[in-house]
Amino acid sequence: MSTLTAPMPSSALDQDWKKVLRWGLICGGALIALCLVGMPVELDRREIIERYLSLGYVSVVLVPIAIGWVSASQVVLEGFESRKQGLFDLVTGLVVGVIGGGLLSLLMVALDSWNLRDPLVNWSPKLFRFLTYENGMGFGAGAWIVTCGVLGLAGASLHVMPRAVRRIVGIVTLGLLSLSVLEEAVSDVSEGFGLEWLTDLIYAKKGGLTLTSTIVVGAVMVVIAALTNGRVKAVTNRYRDMEGVERQKASIILFAVVAVLCIVLPMFLGKIMNELLANVGLFLLLALGLNIVVGLAGLLDLGYVAFFAVGGYTTAVLTSPNSPWFAPELHFGFSLIFVVIFAIIVGLVIGAPVIRMRGDYLAIVTLGFGEIIRLLFMSDWLGPYFGGAQGITNVPGVDLGFATVKGTDPRSVFYLVLFFCVIAIYVSWRLQASRLGRAWMAIREDEQVAEAMGINTVSAKLMAFVVGAVLAAFSGAVLVAKVGSVFPTSFMILISIIILVVVIVGGMGNIAGVMVGSFVLIGVLGGPKQPGLLQEFQNFKLLIYGMLLVFMMLKRPEGLVPSARRSRELHQDEFLQDAWLKGDKPGIDDDADDEDAAPVPVGDGGGEEE
């Protein structure tokens, strides 16, 4: 095929100035918005590199880098030979950064001359001091224009660097950032293993890395990055290419390693980390359930929290002596039987009316059901049975004979959650490849065709609702046993949406993806009420969740760890076009088997295709 060449700019200054200006304004707008939301000032308390850099400055600095990168990227058209990137793009990044910095300086001037504290709560002298480095207006403005310009340039220069260098830069920056940000986790783990001297060496007393340790660790990371260049990919590729028995063996080894890690690691961890892991596990359980409903069957259930509530309330009523109406004080294990029964009933009752609705109506109606259930639990009507707004307190933990699982002992809670997660993972893994799982995926792809192929869509969809409901109810039961009480306010719609974000960011329809999603989001940012590793982000995590959801939908709807089949569905046009461009195919007339010919997209996580 003949290649065409994209139009070349004649000189570095021959820019598309309108585009540059637009990106510059976007950059400035983003910077100002960030400052006015209050993120930098609040995050300023957390040190990244002692005395030199705080998380607040990092949050500001990331904006021009990211926008510099985006503004300098070029649209690569299929079949066109793309222009070699160089000085031209650097100029773009630089100008964009300078415009952004200029707008930020305007904000500084405004901060200095007017007081808009009344509506804008973050319009404070604190912000002004933060922006000027406590050094006066002129210095601050000049410094930001220069830094933003340089950062924009840095962002753009990522396009120019050779691949290997870019990889090293990325790994070192990311590694240093996460090492510093995850300080609490790292010190907790190393304390468990008796390696306090190492963390004392790396971290400064008041938090953050010391300057020397930054340089040393950075150098070590450069070496590691250079050494591993290409190897990691080779290993994952080898795993992916394995067939049959060999692959099974590798999978078993991998599984065993993860299992041992899950069982052994908590013993060495402190209370905070175990609490965190328990929360991650609870949300993982929920996310695995939602993954079946949304990811496999394609039913967007926004009222998923209803099942969570049912599990919680059933356990509370059956086990707590304080239950106002009926208090049999059963053992947790016994109550689980009823949890399953009620979850199935509620799943069927909510599922039946919505099953024939079109996808988006289903979403809103389930959201309505989620609210109805919460409102009913809260109302005076059912108050005599479920305690109304006062909830049910004094729920005993899980008595296992040799130990009691209670919220005060997060390690035991983690093991309990782990037990349920293993069940959930096994169930979803077995279901995926089963007849039912394939029916779900067929329904997700095209309901009418699925029906024509003889799938009973109604019962398959109801099964998805029921399985998802049972998993969520388990999670609710464990939550109640952990917290020791249950209130209607614990079951806000917010939870449904956060779980949805977890599933989507991780990768819809992929168990490994959902696991990654809950570890990254719930573990690092935190759940609706549970703090994550980054406690400073407490006030901003919902903002970040919203942004992430939009970003993922725009740029990577298949998630971080995509399921191969799902991404093929989402990018069907591109796959068809690729295949056509490569000349693999005579044309449109054998559309039928494009599933086989389409190249497998990046990262087939977990290998759930077989």
Partner: protein
């Protein structure tokens, strides 16, 4: 099939409950000592005529706000075929802008001395910011997803909604903002056709009616409106007819946003309190209203809003109370969602029929 039998059962059950509740209520009105009227709720004595009229008026005025928001849902659904979940947030932005402006006006005394001018000004500002939010939203989040599967833009809009809520929270803080009081000459009780109406509600109804009339004029009488209707019918053919589809879609978002902005101001004037979460419940209820009226149908959206508002204010006292449910006022929101389920169970195309292009009707 079992599911169908179950659904029939649910339908029959719900209708029976409604009928029994209604009959018990009517009986109570005539003869409170009757055993049937006292069957579930011995203490109930029915409503007086004035109480009933009051409920009706509050339902109407609240419903007209739902209607204004519902127009945005309905128009976007008609044109793009997805639920713009973030539309409630556009409404909230309008209410928030109104609060900031009116607060400033009150601080310099203009609110008292020249109220009508202030009202016009805050409406203009709220409309501007709401429209701006809606248009930016379309450009950033929805335009790149024009041709993706239906659920993708819906999920995106959930993210947008989350983002706007928390962005506003970050900008203006979590405190509840209260609108200044309306001047006495406007908010006092008036009696019109034997109905006792607070001036505020009258103002709400008047402004809602005026904006509805404006919208009707735009959609049915202008060229832009014609283009909007054409794009809703079939995007491809519309573009072949020389209509700039992108621009029309932006206009649709803008008009919907403007209506939500007006709704936000009215909400603020009536309930006098705004937070960053104000948009969520009215948003979902307005969507319900749009479905009740038949999605894509603008007259339907307004009618749906009014019927939902009335149902929400009347049904708890008229149907639930005679059935012996205590604390019925807490169940207002639950009633609204039940109405949604009922409509979708009995008449999924809404009371006045959907107006969608054939591909969206799937």
């Amino acid at each position: 099939m079992a599911v169908d039998r179950f659904l029939t059962f649910i339908r029959v059950f719900l209708v029976t409950m409604i009928v029994v509740g209604l009959l018990a209520f009517i009986w109570q009105q005539f003869d409170p000592e009757n055993p049937f009227a006292q069957w579930r709720n011995p203490g109930a004595r029915g409503l007086t005529g004035d109480q009933f009229k009051g409920l009706l008026i509050s339902g109407l005025s609240q419903g007209s706000m739902y209607g204004l928001i519902a127009l945005g849902y309905s128009m976007v659904y008609g044109v793009l075929g997805f639920i713009n979940f973030a539309h409630g947030e556009v409404f909230m932005v309008g209410a928030m802008t109104g609060f900031i402006a009116s607060d400033k006006f009150q601080a310099n005394g203009m609110w008292e001395s020249n109220f009508l001018l202030c009202l016009v000004l805050i409406i203009v500002m709220a409309v501007f910011f709401s429209t701006f939010t809606a248009v930016v939203m379309e450009r950033v989040a929805y335009r790149p997803l024009r041709n993706s599967p239906r659920l993708i833009p819906l999920i995106t809009s959930i993210g947008v909604s989350f983002f706007i809520q928390n962005f506003v929270l970050g900008l203006f803080g979590p405190s509840t903002k209260s609108y200044p009081r309306l001047p006495e000459w406007l908010s006092k009780q008036r009696s019109i056709l034997t109905f006792e109406i607070a001036g505020t509600r009258l103002l709400v109804l008047a402004v809602a009616a005026a904006s509805m009339a404006g919208l009707w004029y735009i959609v049915e009488r202008t060229k832009t409106g014609k283009a909007m209707r054409a794009v809703a019918e079939d995007k491809e053919i519309a573009s072949l007819m020389g209509i700039d589809v992108n621009r029309t879609i932006v206009t649709t978002f803008a008009v919907g946003g403007a209506m939500a902005g007006v709704g936000g101001i009215l909400w603020g004037l009536m309930f006098r309190s705004v937070t960053h979460m104000t948009g969520f419940l009215p948003g979902v209820k307005a969507f319900t209203a749009a479905v009740v009226g038949g999605i894509g149908n603008l007259g339907g959206a307004m009618a749906g809003g009014i019927s939902l508002g009335s149902a929400e204010s009347i049904a708890p006292l008229v149907i639930l109370e005679p059935l012996g449910v205590p604390g019925v006022s807490q169940l207002k929101d639950a009633v609204a969602f039940t109405v949604l389920v009922l409509v979708l169970l009995f008449k999924p195309s809404g009371l006045f029929g959907e107006r969608l292009s054939s591909e969206d009707r799937a």
